[in-house]
Amino acid sequence: MNKRKTNIWNNIDWITVLLYITLIIFGWLSIYSAVYNDGHQSIFDITQRYGKQLLWISASFILILIVFLIDVKFYSLFAYFIYIATILLLISVLFLGKEVHGARSWFEIGNFRVQPSEFAKVATSIVLAKYMSSYNQKFKKFKNLFTLAIIILTPVVLIFLQNDTGSALVYFAFILVLYREGLSINYIFIGILIAVLFIVSLLVDKLIILFSIEIIAIIIFAFRNKKIKNIIITLITISSATFVVWGINKIFSFNLSFYIVNLIGLTLSTIILSIFAYWNKMNYIFIILGILYSSILFTNSVGYFFNNILEPHQQTRINILLGIKKDPLGTGYNVNQSKIAIGSGGFSGKGFLQGTQTKFNFVPEQSTDFIFCTIGEESGFIGTSIVILLFVSLLMRIIYLAERQRSKFSRIYGYCVASIIFFHFVINIGMTIGITPVIGIPLPFFSYGGSSLWAFTILLFIFIRLDASRLDLFA
């Protein structure tokens, strides 16, 4: 017993711990500066956010201690129990939770608020590691894939119901983990196709989408076939069929829309081309056609889903996310202000506590989601580059540690940690510099908020703990 304990302390990866502490300190300084005003100067003033954050940070060290004391087998043994308990918490917050900024995702106990969705990331990571390592997991089996989808999507749906779209989207980061463990590229390709089609069908006229899908299908066909003759035949068949339908529509005045005319023309020519393909034994054409028609069907159902199933506030959120609707005083305004603040920092920044843009008239989420602006303004390009390098180092270190695990459980868990931190890092910093859409999720270890800080601390230190015992774990 005694021997093992000394073992752990010796085996802790101090580089990761050091990176963690550096990020935490940098984060706290930023919050202090963002909230700072002449009226309150004591750093321990817990009426101010920096004072509170100091309290959360101290509590984090207690949490780290607890994580180190818990036996390393605990997570694997109780994985499902932890997961189900978290799901129950997510359900109960829907009913008992307190609404903050339109999202019902907080439990309120006295003056103290906890956000279970933050901790759900930890639980989902543990259960994913457990499930994917528990037996000879193969992505080819439909049952396995289905179970994985249930594990990941249950918290997503529950968090989406809490109206916290940002936290729900984080779970899509697990695709990286699945990819690392052998998920076929095809699934990822289909996933990307669905996402692109969904967004495009909201943004672009469906006629243009139809044409684009057709053209892409023909190009794919051209790559496969490589015979100019066949491609010309295809093009002529499609255009003449469409022209005939167009003519009939005109002469008999059926008043069909141009879209329908094209669709009928395409269907007719498809039938002709299919027979032609069947004769020539070009079976891959049917796969192309399958994808072509399911894409058309999908783009048409998106409109219906969007207009008839989604609630108006969800529609607005997606609209603003995709930039369909501009709201100069809302999100767009925040991003503009954010860019001004970061841009005004220049190469070396205005100096600690010297920021003006981030103090005088900035967005309400100054110390939470937009904390990166304070860094940008006060520490300049030097500061922002350092922060990005710190995150990259942390992520690379986690991947390095994950790859050296002998236990599959530990490796998968490590990748979960990396994926979640990576997703938060990309989206949060991306939105402050106007690259990614504004999704309200915190910057790990930086943003103000106890739940977020504690969840990330636990997430990371369970992995450090697993890594410290890597020589004892084999499964």
């Binding site: 690392r180 052998g182 003006t356 990005i388 992520l395 690259i435």
Partner: protein, 614 residues
Amino acid sequence: MDIFKQRKYFIQIIIILISIIYIIRLFALQVVDTSYKISASNNVLRHITQYPARGLVYDRNEELLVYNQAAYDLMIVPRQLEAFDTTDFCNIINISKQQLIKEINKAKKYSYFKPSLFLKQMSSVTYAKLQEKLYKYKGFFVQTRTLRKYTQKIAAHALGYVGEVDEEITKKKPYYKLGDYMGISGIEKSYEKELRGKKGVQIYLVDVHNRIKGNYKKGKYDTNAVAGANITTTLDANLQEYGEKLMQNKKGSIVAIEPSTGEILTMVTSPSYNPALLVGRIRTKNYLNLLKDTLKPLFNRAVMAKYPPGSTFKIITALVGLQEKVLYKNTLYSCHGGYHYGRQIVGCHNHPSPLDLTHAIQYSCNAYFCNVYRSIIDNPEFTSADEGFKVWRDYVTSFGLGNKLGTDFANELSGNIPTTKYYDKYYGHGHWSSLTTLSLSIGQGELGITPLQLANMTSTVANRGFYYTPHLIKKISSKKNIDEKFLVQRYTKIDSSYFPIVIDGMEKVINGEAGSTARIAKIKDIIVCGKTGTAQNPHGDNHSIFIAFAPKDNPKIAIAVFIENGGYGARWAAPTASLMIEKYLKKNISRKWLENYILNCDLINEQTQDKHME
């Protein structure tokens, strides 16, 4: 072994690639692009919301009813405050030093960095004085707003009022920010979206002396305010004013509709209030006073009060009878001082007997319509009174009674036409009959109808069988058409061929021989068709009711008048309606004696005097 191990490289490449993109982007933003730095050294951005002027409101003859007046809000940004001469400052804007400190602390509590309202609606004189010295008071600036102003003291309920949004609304509708105004009632509420226009924002650079240095980035991020659309209402200001004058010292309501369009010409609620009372800083105080008033001036009787329609409802009873073919033009019923059943009687007054349908309307015979009602409900074609009643109710509701009409008036109520369920609950299923509900035939009992609904019913009769949903909107300057639902003819379940018979009876009510119920309402050269009504009132004197339309052919106006505690319909309501019609059709009043008779009638103070004497 782990055949997917090489996939870690792909993941690592993604991470590094994105980080490089971000660093390049930051380099471009922070080092290459200098435009962000110009503003950042000493200057501060100030966002000034551009409030659009609210749309104007006109009457149907394009006479201006509601317009705007400038007001100046003094705003404060606590973070930018610097020591200043408080005595001088307090003198200019006329507040005490304690108040100043209190307001500054309030603003600080809200936010150090965001502007908050310091003093609402300064006069232009104060503003002019302050403007000169504003540079001395860093952290303060002035925002221009508009307040509503009214040309006349009329139509307070129809026009509605504008008030400041509360926190609840800002949460639900993010367009509104604290301190914004929005329509709270009446047209201001119904057409809020059109009237308010669209806010804009201008971003200025402000130097250390609190002076505006110019537009930020040449106005690239500015948006212009879009002025609100002007609205033309269907109200006739002259008629509305006249109606309110006639209704002085009385409780009740007048609603007049143009039958051929459904346009509401007049919507009088009495007692009313001066709309100018609910504007600006005095609004809250005045509102509370109006709320405390025992005569309930804030209660919009025209669309919210429900009364039994009394004998005016006999028109409906007759039409249902005709349609169901249990009543014909020449059907005769005799009347011996009322309708007797068992030991009970529905009383009637003295008039010739027996009567046919038109004369029964002319003399408003109760017994006649009790007979008609019973033959409708107890029609042998139906298996039960229950079934008959449902048929009857279907006809009644097709006149727009018992449901909200769907007007553009936010707080209209639905009134009440009882259902079989109601009687089943009250008497038990199968334990009630046409006799139990007999009082409905003459418009008493459980019936509850709003003045607007009754005017609409009159308009339906005037149109011989259809109505347009009554509305207050005639034109919106930003739109081609008004809402399409106001342009649809809505037919009742009564064939239009039955209406002329009833209308003949209504003509006789006013133009018939001596003994007709409302000869007082007769106007020279115009054939007015009408019907009196008296609503039984368990709390005091009966309510006086009159409905009418004129001229008989091609009617221009349909009207319903309710005068609370006015007694018989012919006593106060009929002459009031007659004067309104004359005013609208002939523009001036020939019967000054009748006008004086109504103007001098005081039912509010008289009553209170009566009570004192008791």
